[in-house]
Symmetry: C2
Subunit: 164 residues, 2 copies
DNA sequence: TACCGTAACATTATGATATTACAAAACAGT
DNA sequence: ACTGTTTTGTAATATCATAATGTTACGGTA
């Protein structure tokens, strides 16, 4: 099984077929979990789908609310556990500047990614930019610091909102 | 009045004279507030001092606890208001990956800075690295995104901890 | 099938962080 | 001192996340 390719990392047109995004994300998730011998259980799968309802970060309690509207009313730990699983498998990312979660555009990839967050429409785009990573690595090394992880979240205006 | 210079941005030796750091930070804060015609009131000043007790980020409730041990027992809004003031004046930074606040090494400077956070000892160092900023700007521009602000928080090991 | 061990999930409660709304006090300019 | 503005106090509440404990579902074994 070949690894999933980058998908939906950038900003997409408003009228793109979002069903395809969700379907591709699920397909990738099934593949990644299959390769690793971990289980994409119904709760985990449903949480991933809910996150992929849009290209915008969703808070844990917003996910809870969606689940509550489906007969099923789990408590916070259920959602957080599913999120932790998805984070561990690299299927979603956590955005600490928003306390929210977004689907990963390159499921299972190594590295933390960088995020562009539109303050106008709430849309997020994921970068995995080697130039940024290299600059960070270099800046840290100059202070004698060894990087383990990074959070890069850039807020501003997406291409759709910058014009209006 | 000349603007404060960069101070204490990097990792300092364990035995540096930290009283100097605090004194310099307060001096800079007084200068910045004086130039701008805003008031560094006793609460704001004290919160800034508490944050500068060390080179490690402090949570709002940790600050509250210190204040409580001083006869004076303010409620959360008092601390959050002081923090908001200090953030606005560029005297402290908020680290969203830690939900904590740290003194700014270049009081009043423009830009968001980048932070190195040691997971072993909790120490933070601030960078204002034009290379990182340029890389981010370029990566964002390639997606048609206009940057307004950024959060760059790098976790890993500081020079003191990497050896042990 | 019955058994066991592990992984996943449910439930309750609580911890940690942050904000709203309104009242009182301190301050600055007159 | 009078007045409008800024700052602080206080109580309640919202929001985000985890601890602690017990139960259920699943997969392997005999
Ligand atoms: Zn990703
Ligand atoms: Zn937008
Ligand atoms: Zn700074
Ligand atoms: Zn350290």
């Amino acid at each position: 099984m070949n690894s999933p390719q980058e998908r939906n990392g950038g900003f997409l047109p408003d009228q793109h077929d979002h069903g395809d995004c969700v379907a591709a994300a699920l397909e990738d998730a099934i593949a990644v979990c299959g390769e690793r011998g971990v289980r994409l259980t119904p709760v985990r799968r449903r949480v991933l789908e809910i996150i992929w309802q849009g290209h915008r970060p969703l808070g844990a309690y917003a996910i809870l609310e969606v689940l509550s509207g489906e007969g099923h009313s789990p408590a916070p730990p259920t959602v957080y556990r599913a999120l932790e699983f998805l984070l561990t498998q690299g299927l979603v990312h956590r955005l600490s500047s928003l306390n929210a979660f977004v689907g990963c555009s390159r499921p299972g990839h190594p590295g933390a990614g960088q995020f562009l967050l539109c303050t106008s429409c709430g849309t997020a785009a994921e970068l995995n930019d080697p130039e940024i990573e290299r600059a960070i690595e270099r800046g840290a090394a100059a202070e004698g610091f060894v990087c383990r992880d990074h959070t890069v979240e850039i807020s501003g205006l997406c291409p759709h909102c910058r014009g209006t």
